[in-house]
Every structure is written in structure tokens, then in C-alpha cells.
Symmetry: C6
Subunit: 252 residues, 6 copies
């Protein structure tokens, strides 16, 4: 990472913490989590391109995936938001799919808060629910003397509150299913990426692409050899030639 | 725009931001959005005349439509409010109609907040709902020491809260349908106006009128040639003679 | 208006604003609105006598009707409150009856707030609802350090809240119907009064009485000529002899 | 009234306001109201003896009834509270009975607030409702820095809130019926007392007793002459011998 | 009472108020109330031994019963809490049983608040309700700058609120029934104790025991003479030999 | 305990309080409570190893169980949380199982608060409820000027509140059942451990292991001799050779 990237990452997420001793088991969980974000982000149509993925801690984060937009944007479409939701949930989804429900962790709490808030805004501020229509719901009075927001103030009935909850739940549940479909369809790729990430700790876009292509090729070959599901295929062996990037980068 | 207009616009919306780099795709979305406001405003009976439409950013706004009343007014009638609601929702409605639901954007959040607040006032402060009658609902205690309003305080039952929600929803839904009818009936005009706005960035009332007349004429001719729907007719080619106004103007 | 009257009016409602340019259409609306108050007040039994009516703006008000009690009073009876409610709603009621529902305006918002608060007090503070009985509902804790009231604090169940809402609604709806009956029965008088008020801008009690008597006489004659309803009778021509009072007076 | 009595009355209710010009109609209403309190208080078993009744204004009060306990008391029994409730409601009840429901006034608002609060305490603080049992309901957090109470804080479910409302309503409704029974049974006495009070303005216990005895005697005679109800019997003529007390006294 | 006892009592309940003039009727009520606490406390298994009972006022209290644990305790069991509840309600229960429901007084308000709070804690803080299980309900945010607690903040649904109410009600109702059973079964003892307390004003444990034994003996004899219920047996005559203790003691 | 251990324990839980006089009965209750935590923690798969158990008071705690993780951890899995819940509830569960429901104590209030909060976070912050999905529920606005949290602010409907309550209840109830199964299956071990703890007051991991092994051996022998349940088997006699550790250690 060059000086500029390092500066940006430091400002957004805090200093790198290479000294943290993280167990191998946790590293693997983090790698699957981050690659869940990255692979969903790479696969879906309306997400920003993934730039870097890392499992080197920085500030509070144990790992992150950095996605960068290609150009400045002032508007976000519903299609983009729906794909963003899926990418945000891709981390937890990968843990669930690969490690099993018992092994999902508290590490996804930030993601699910972000996803919930985003889905809630789609419904209550951006008028993106067909059922509730182009209306806003709730007020956010500002308390100047506190310098902070006191949370949403409900100005609607219990019936609307319940419809909002259902719509928000539906958006999140749909996004989780979309993430799951992506990760299940490309499970061999996910395993290859995560395996590699444990070794190299930080991966940039070209490296990701190389590993994806290799995995797809291997899988295509494997698939042509038989008709069974590929979900249980072992992770590809680590690629000894891959050179770990010098520094980790910031991400979601 | 003369100096006086520029001054007013600067006070209301902030300085122009010609330097913002907005992608072609976003420009088109903004053009449809603004022309949605403008065409609904021009078509309906009780709205103020549209003065200028622009997609040059100013302050927070990516574009705007300036409507000016013909004379000072102290009273607003229910008929005027209902048309205002439709005009406010015309922007999102145009995005939805032309670009499809997946491409509606976060850009309408201000509009739908305005529409919701207006419809809510009609029901809870101005006694304009037949069902709820000439009563007010809710108190707004002022917190002097904060210098701000703490949001509405509910002083009615859940049953009334639910009726208010239904009436507000109905007003907004009806207004959206009225906007949609206007824009669907005149879709070829909307396309012609938006196409042109992308080129010239700012359009005043006479220019709008000219383009509308041309589009109507072309469409009349086209319609007389066949019986199919005109909704899918391609936008008219940009008019090379149109001179872009020197400066953009303030609007809704 | 003599100096004393002017002083009182100035203290209550602020300075006269003869300079406000109000359109003819709005003047007519305001005239019907004020004469709605005045005619209901004049017709019902338990209201204070109407003293003056004006459509000259003063402070925030676009027009007003001044009613004065004959003697000091310390108690207000239910019968008086019920007539007061009808008088307060007479303005909006006249707009609705003469101009049609589409042309009711935001100008009645103060009236309907007053009516709602009055009806609410009858039910929750003065024990005037048979259904809810001689009890009070709600507390109004004072926040001394704010110097203001924080709105009612509910100390009753949702069931009671709903009954209160129904009783308040019923009181207001009944009062609106009583106002409507008065105005419909005397529609020719209302039209005559409003027509005249547009011309003279301010009218005192004797002048009102003269116009009412004339209109009644004309209508009696007209009625004796046929059996059709008089509701659609054209307003009487303005009376050229009437002298406009020199100054406008304060009112409800 | 001696100097001590005057001092006490002044401290409790403020200075006498003999200068207030109260209409004859209002005086009669006030007299019935106060004698409603006094007669219920005199008739029921567990109330304190009535000491004086007056319609001379003092501070905010337009009239009052002074009841004094015979000895110091530290405990109040349910039977006493139930009779107190009836006495408090006796004022409004007399207005309703004699003047008719249309003529009940805003003057009872303090009484019904007191009655509601008392009944509420019986149910929520003193465990006197069989249905709700010996429990307390609600907390009253003190805000020291405000020096005031912020109203009850609900710590129970909506179901309990509804039961509390029903029990409080029942207590008040029963008390009103008890007051009504007393006043209806002794309507001739009430009329005699109120008539006399309008003349003398202030009445002490011996005077009250004399008038009650006379009215009972007259009524006994009248009743023995026929079998019809006495409710509509005209008030007895004022007694010219009665000497008005020099000064008015404090009361409920 | 020795100096140490007096000091403790003074700190807990304030100075003795021998000068308060309390009527004989109230003294009897207080005596039954206190002996209700004391007899339930003496009869049930898991309560602390009763040390002294008094009807000499001290601070706010009109009388009290002092129970002292035999040894320091750090844990309180469900069985102990259930018996404590019954003892707390024993005062009101005795009033109800002996004097009749009409004569229950406001004097029990502290007891029923204590009982409600205790039962509520059993359910919401100590996990002692089978139905609600080993969970806590509600948060108590501290407002440091106020130096006080703002009451419980509900963090559960209406359904749970209702279950809590039912469980709390059940605990209190059961405890009241247990107290009632104790007092009804030993009504002759209760009458003997209260009678004696009115005379001597303060009673210690040995004196209580002596009177209980005498009453039981008398009752045993009386019972053996017939089969009728003993509930209506007259109170035993006061024992002239009993020496009133020099000073009153602190209690519940 | 060495100096370092003592320092840590002092910081976490406060100074040791050997001087507290705790009755034998309470000591036994505390011993069962702590060994309930310790045995569940030792038996389940995903808990941290138990390091020490003590019934020597320290600060507010009457006893504690110290569990230490083997390595630093940054993520906690659902399986670990579920086992943690069972360990937290193991104390109350042991009281209930061995001493009977009547003898459960207030000593578990901290445990059940911890368990409730943990289960609540699993459902509302960590997305670990299948029914509610990967969403967060509730906001925690910070009041900077207070320096504290004001409790959760509900931003969801009553329906969701009820589902949250059910899920939280289910998690706690399941954990309690798991703890109960462990303790019932190993009741002879629990009795042996608690008996010994009463004597030695503090026990470390090797000592615990020795007693568990002995009890299992004895029980194996006993079981092989008959088929009856072992639940009522008497506690093993205290082991005279066991040396009580010099100092007590910190724990949950």
C-alpha cells in the first residue's frame, strides 16, 4: 500500500495492529467472513468493484474489504442498494454456509446493524417499499444542546410500525438469500479465496481475479468429470507463488 | 439569469456548483426527475406556473424546478394542495415511469418528506380529511431553552393514529396516481423535455412551451398514423437551435 | 373606530395592515369565512353579541369577528360552550357551503385548533361528556425551569383515550352540523353580508342588522313567489347607500 | 367572622373579593353549587360537619363550603373517602339536578379533578379496589433539580391501566349517584338553602340547620296533603328574619 | 427501651411523638393493624422473630412492629420472601377482618407499596416466577446529574407486561390469603393482643407470648365447650397486671 | 494465590472479606451455587476452563467461579454463547435442584441479569435468532452530557417486541434445561464438590478434577451394584487430606 492509501485507511479505521495475536481458527473465520463480502461484491452487478481484502486488524476491525466506486456518485438507485445489502450480509452468510450456524460469531454485529439501518432507510426515508409507498415515517428531532440525535421519534400508528418491520425484514431476508445463492453457487471459489487469504493476509483485485479464475477452471474440470454437488469439494491448496502484499487496506 | 434572480437563488439554495462532475447517467436521471416536477406542474390546474428548470447543482440540490405564484397569496385551498402534492411527487414518479422501479433513487427523499408532511398537515392541522373532520391532532410543545421543536406529541388514541396514517397514505397515493396519469399521458413530452434538458442544463418557461408544442405536434402526427400506444416512442432528437440559458434558476 | 377601540385591537391582534395586497378572490373567501362566524354568532342563542366584522388584516389575522359579552362572566355553561363551538366552526363551514369542499383553505387552522381544544376540555377537564362522566383525564406537569407546559401527560388507558377521541369528535361534528344548518337556512343572508363586507371591508352591528333585515325581507318576498329552494339564489346586489366604517375592529 | 377565622381563610383562599360584580344568574348557580356540597356533607354519615357556606368570592373561588373535622385524624377510612367523594361531587350534581344538564358550568372543574385524584388514589395507592387488590400501581419519580413531580410513570400493562380506569370511573359514578339521591330526596331543602344563600351570601351551621328544619316541616305538611313527587315544588320564599352573617367563611 | 434501642429507633423512624393526640378509635385501628403484622410474623415459619410492637407514634409512623433477624443474612430465599409478603400485608388484613372492609384505612399505603415492590422484584429481578423464568425484566437507567432513579424503563412487550402484572398480583393475593388464614384461625389471639396493646401501647416479645398463651388456653377451653366458630368471640378483658414497657420500639 | 492473582482479583471484585460471618446454611447454599457454575462450565464443550472456585466473599460477591480462556479471543461463536448461558444459569439451577424451589435465593439476581442481557444481545444485536434474522433491534442513543446510557430506545413494533421476548425467553429456558441436565446427570459429583468446598472454601482446578474423578469412580461402583437413580445418594464424606488453598480466587 502506498503512503496515500495508508493515510486514508488510518483515518477511516485507525492504525494497523499487526501485533494482535489472533488464533488460526479465528483467522480462518475472518477470512471466510471478508471473502463473503468480497465475493458477493464481485459477483453482483450493481456493487462497487472490490479493491482489496485483508485480515490484518486495523483499529476495531479484525479484517476488511475495500470497495471503491468508479466515479463520483450523487444518487443511489434501489438496485444498487439491494446489491449493497447483499454484500454487507455476505460476511455472516459465508460463516453460516461454510462453518455452520453454531459457528456464526459476534463479529457480524456491525454488518447487521448497517444492513438493518440501510433497509430501514429504504422503507422509511426513501420511499422504496411498494406497500408503504412514497412516504417518510418518523421524525428525528435534534437536540442542539446535546450535539446529538436522540433516536427516531415515532409519529405513526402501531399498524404502520408493524408494516415497516415486515418490509425491513423482507429486504434483509431477501438480501441474505441472494448472498447465500452467490456463495453457494461459487462455494469452491469462496474456499479458494479464504484459504489463500489466511496465508497472504491481504489480497488485491488482480490477485483475487487470478484465484477466482483458477478455481473456476478447476471446478469446471471437476464438474465435467461428474455430476455431484461441488459444495463439499476441499479448498484448493494454497498457491505458493502468491506474494503477500506489503500492507493491508481499508474496507467494509 | 439576471443579478436579482441569482441573488434569490443563492439565498434559497446556496451557490451554484458547476464544477461538480456528474455522470451522464445521473444527469439523465436528474433531468427526468426535474421534468417530472415541471410537467406535472405545467399540466395541472391549481399549481403555480413553472418558471425555470435546471440540472445545474446548487447547494445540496442536484437540480431544481422553480415555480412562482402570479400574485401574493395568504390562503391555500385544498385543490391547490392536492395539485402541489402531485407536483412534489412528479420527480420520483418520472424516475419510476421512465427508468423503471429498480432505478428509482435516493434523490427523492426530500420530495417524499415534503409530500408526507404536507399531507399530514392537511389531515391533522387543516381539517381537510372528511373522515377525521375539522379537528386538529397532536401538540407541538416548544422547548424554549433548546430553541427547537421536539416533534409532535401524540394526544390521541391508537385508533385515531391509524386513521391519520390511512388518510395521509391515501392523499399521497392519490397524488402519485395523478402525477403518473399526467406523465403517462404525456410521456413523449416528458422524454422530449428531459432529453433537451440534458443538453442545455437549464430551461425557462418559453423554451419548455416550445418543446412541449413540438412534441405534441409530432405525437399528434404519429398518433394519427397508427393506433398503438405512444409510451414506447423514442425521445425526440435534441433540438440544435435551442440556446442554453446563461444561468440556472431555483426551484422545487 | 375610536381611539380606545383601536388601542384594544392593536394590543390583541397587532397593528392594522391596510397595505397588504390581497386578491379579490381571497377577499371574498375571507368575507364568507368571517360572516360565517358572525352569522352563526348572531343566530344562536347562547353566544355573545357580534360587535364588528372586518376583512382588514391586523397582525397575523386576515380578518376577524369581534364578539363582546354583555356583562362580566365567571362561569361558562355547557349550552354556551356548544354554541361557541358552532360559531368557531362557522368560518370553515361557510367556505365549505358556498365555495365548495375543494376551495376550503388553510385559513381555518386556528379555528379548528381552538374548537378541538375547547371540545377536548369539555370532555377531559369539565366533565361534560355523559359517557365519560365527571372525571378529569390527563395531567399537565409544569416544568418550571422551562417556563412552559410540556403538553398533556396521559394517565389513562388506550380504551379511555379512544372514548375521549370519539366524544371530542362528536362534539365538533355536532357543532359543525349546527353551524351548517344555520348557514344553509340563511344562505341568502350570508351571501348578502359577505358581498357587502367585500365592499365596505368593516361592518358594525347596526349595519349587519340592516342587511340581514333587507335580505330576509327580499327572501320572504321571493319565497312567497315560489316554492323552490333558495340556496342557489344569487347574492343581493351591493347596497350603494351603506357607508363603510372608518376603521376595522378586532374579533374572533 | 372573627379575626382568626378571617386570617385562616385569607391564608387558604386569598383575600375576599366583595367588589366582584357577579350577575344574579351566576349567583344562583353558585348558591346551588355550594349548597350541593353542603347538603350532601350534612346528610351523609362519614363527612366532617359543615361549618359555613358562602358565595362571597375569595381569591380564585366564587364560593365555598367550609367543613371542619371534630378532632385530629391520622387515618381515613374507605367509608369516609366514599362520602367525601359524594360531597365533592355534590356541587356539580346540584347544578345538574336543578338547572338542567345544559346549564352545568365550568365552575366544577376543580371539584372533578379533586374527585378523580381521590378515587385514583383509593385504587392505585391505598389498595381499596377489590378487583385490583392491595397493590400499588405507578411510580412517581421525583426530579429534584426541578423541585416538582413529573406525573405518574406507568409501570403496569395496558390491561391493568384499563382496569384502573374502570374502577376509578365506578367510584366516581357511584359517588355521583349517592350525591344525586341525597339531593333529589331533599330537593325542597336544597332549594330553600340556595334561595336563602343568594340573599344572605354567607350562612353558618345553626342558620343552615334552622332552614333545613323549616323546609322539612313545610315539606312534611305538603307531602301529607298529596302523593305526588316533591321534586318540582317551588323554592320556599326567602325568610326575611334571617340575618346575614357579617363575613363569609372558607370551604371546599 | 435502653439507650441503644432508642438510638436505633430514632435513626430509622425519627423521634417519638408521645404528644400526638390520637383518638381511641384510631388507636384501636392502629393496634389491630400492628398486631396483624406481629401475629402473622409470629405464626409463619420463615419470618424473623417479632421483637416489639408499639402504637406510640414515631416520625411519620403511627405504630410499628420490630422484627429482628437472629443472625446476619446475605441471601433471602423464596420461602422467606413469601412469608415476608404475608407479614407486610398482615396489617391491612387485620383491619379488613376485624373492622370490616368499609373501615380499612389509608394507613396501609406504605405496606402495600412495600408488598408490591417486593413481589415485583421476585418476578422481575430474582427470577422467582415459574411462568416468566430466570430472566430479568426492565432497566433502571441512572441519571447521575439528578442523583436519582427515574423509574423502571420497560424493555419488554405488552404481553410480558401483562404476565408480570398477573404474577405480581398472584403473589400478593396469595400472601394476603395466607395472612387472612393465620388471622382468622387465631382471631381470638389477635383480639386479645390488640386489646392489650391499646392499654399498654408498647409490648415486647415475652409479653406477647404470655398473652397468646392465655388466649389460646381460654380459647381451647371455650372450644371444648361447644362446636361453633370462635371468630365472633369477644376480646379477652385487658390484663391489669401487665406493665407497659417504658418505651416504644421500631418495626415494620 | 500468588501476588499477581490476588491483585487481579482485588481489582475485579474488591478486597477479600474473610471477616464476614456467614452461617453454615448460607455457606452450603453458596457452595452449591458456585459449584453449579463450575460443574456446568467443566462439563460443556465450549466454555472456558474453570480455574478456581471459592466461597470466600470478596467485595459484593459471596462466592465466585473463575474461568479463564486459553488464548485471546476476538470473536465469540453462537455455540460458545449458548454454553456460557448455561454456565451462568448453573448457579441458580444447582440451588433449585439440590435445595428445592422454595430455597432458591436472591443471590442469583446478578446471574439472571447477565443471562438475560446476553440472550437479548444474541437476538437483537448479533442476529442469532433464526426467527428474527440478521437484523438489529433498538437504538441506544448516548447522552453525552450525562456520561451514561439511557437504556434501549425501541424502534420496532409491538409484534417484534413480543417475538424478541419469546426468543430471549427460549434461549434462557433452553440454557437452564441444559444446565439442569448436566447437574442432574452428575448430581453425585455436584454434591461431592459442594461438600468439599464448604470445608476448604477455595478450590483450584486440579483439586476439582480429583474430587470429580473420585465421585465418578464411587458412583460407577455404586451404579454397577444397582439400577436405581443416584440422585438421592448422600454426598461423599469430606476428604480429610485436602488442604484448603491459602487464598480465594475471582470468578463468575
Amino acid at each position: 500500500m502506498n503512503d496515500l492509501e495508508e493515510s486514508i485507511a488510518r483515518v477511516i479505521a485507525g492504525p494497523e495492529r499487526k501485533s494482535r495475536m489472533i488464533s488460526e481458527k479465528e483467522k480462518l473465520t475472518i477470512a471466510y467472513h471478508e471473502m463473503g463480502h468480497a465475493l458477493v461484491g464481485t459477483t453482483l452487478e450493481h456493487t462497487d468493484p472490490v479493491h482489496k481484502v485483508t485480515i490484518v486488524s486495523r483499529g476495531q476491525a479484525l479484517g476488511w474489504t475495500m470497495s471503491l466506486p468508479i466515479e463520483d456518485r450523487y444518487l443511489v438507485s434501489k438496485a444498487e442498494l439491494v446489491d449493497q445489502l447483499a454484500q454487507i450480509l455476505g460476511g455472516r452468510c459465508a460463516e453460516d454456509l461454510i462453518l455452520g450456524e453454531d459457528n456464526i460469531t459476534t463479529g457480524a454485529s456491525d454488518d447487521i446493524r448497517k444492513a438493518t439501518n440501510l433497509a430501514r432507510k429504504m422503507v422509511t426515508e426513501w420511499g422504496m417499499s411498494d406497500k408503504l409507498g412514497p412516504l417518510t415515517f418518523g421524525e428525528r428531532p435534534e437536540m442542539v444542546f446535546l450535539g446529538r440525535d436522540l433516536g427516531e421519534q415515532r409519529n405513526y400508528s402501531e399498524g404502520i410500525a408493524s408494516e415497516i418491520d415486515q418490509e425491513v425484514h423482507q429486504l434483509v431476508a431477501d438480501a441474505f438469500q441472494r448472498a447465500k445463492k452467490v456463495l453457494r453457487d461459487r462455494e469452491h471459489v469462496l474456499r479458494a479465496l479464504a484459504s489463500r487469504l489466511v496465508e497472504v493476509e491481504t489480497m488485491d483485485a488482480p490477485e483475487m481475479k487470478r484465484i477466482i479464475d483458477e478455481a473456476e477452471a478447476r471446478n469446471g474440470a471437476a464438474s465435467s468429470n461428474g455430476s455431484g454437488p461441488v459444495a463439499d469439494a476441499p479448498p484448493p491448496p494454497p498457491d505458493p507463488e502468491a506474494v503477500p502484499p506489503a500492507e493491508a487496506a481499508a474496507g467494509a
